[in-house]
């Protein structure tokens, strides 16, 4: 059993599963957004806003953001533990990554539910 404090869930299996589930969520959301844009070529600001007033679109959007944050952390944590051997370098990289992803989450939450 290899110990590690910085990965998402402490368990390789959970990380692995979440990486796959989040990929499906992100893909579904991408298909959804592209589909909406293709189906409404003359979409204006009002109808775009109306779309994002719908509760399920808000939930779906936030879920997609959560999926991106988790997916990015797991993926880049893996890359960092592969290629960044000096501990200091890796911790600084992971700290910047963590702050960035957290910021995404807050900004996305505000965009979806309005500040």
């Amino acid at each position: 059993m290899v110990k590690s404090v910085t990965n998402l869930s402490r368990s390789g299996l959970s990380d692995w599963l979440w990486q796959r589930v989040s990929a499906v969520i992100i893909a579904a959301y991408a298909v959804f957004i592209v589909g909406v844009l293709l189906a409404n070529p003359d979409m204006d600001y009002a109808s775009w806003q109306a779309l994002f007033q719908t509760t399920w679109v808000q939930i779906f959007s936030f879920l997609a953001v959560l999926a991106i944050v988790g997916h990015a952390w797991i993926g880049l944590w893996t890359v960092a533990t592969d290629y960044m051997k000096p501990l200091a370098v890796r911790f600084i990289f992971l700290a910047i990554l963590g702050v960035t992803l957290f910021t995404y989450l807050i900004v996305a939450g505000r965009a979806i539910w309005g500040a």
Partner: protein
Amino acid sequence: MTALTVSIYRYNPETDKKPYMQDIEVDVPEGKDLMVLDVLHLAKEKDPALTYRRSCREGVCGSDGMNISGKNGLACITPLSEAKKGNKLVLRPLPGLPVVRDLVVDMSLFYKQYEKIKPYLQNDTPAPAIERLQSPEDRAKLDGLYECILCACCSTSCPSFWWNPDKFVGPAGLLQAWRFLADSRDTATAERLADLDDPFSVFRCRGIMNCVNVCPKGLNPTRAIGHIRSMLLTQSA
């Protein structure tokens, strides 16, 4: 006789500051296909200091694993006709492990990972009078697993093992981990799985499949790793 250039990785830590490639010209008899190991013997006649491991010379002992013209394999069962590029043969030690001298690498990390998966049968039920029997179907589950000769060709061709040889068990170790998980006579399944459920031991495998590509015994560590993953999933779902 045809002339062949063998380019060999040379390094003697006692005298060389750093490794270098040495070209040795050898005369290869025509009309028959030599194995790469035979070519190494010819090269050693030219330079007796050349160092490599070999023992059974028929692909059973796993001693002469090396990087042959860019691909890991056993020198004794790799035909020259397949291995040479043009009129040149390039021989390097297995990648990713410390070089002891020339083509000889220090396999400690590889064995340590093997040791970690407890490569022996564990069974805490009272031993029967004769032996623990297995149905032919259960025995068949070990085919494609027990044949591994621990040559390290697979693990040393795996980038995930290169970057984390101290944490990632590697294809060879994981093939054996599955060999004991799949064994109907082994009762330590839960403990074995618990030891593997961290982000490195199994999950550092990214499905590159270099292991499958190089295994001289035609084994499939990637498939075994997939089995371990599904077992972890079903046992904890």
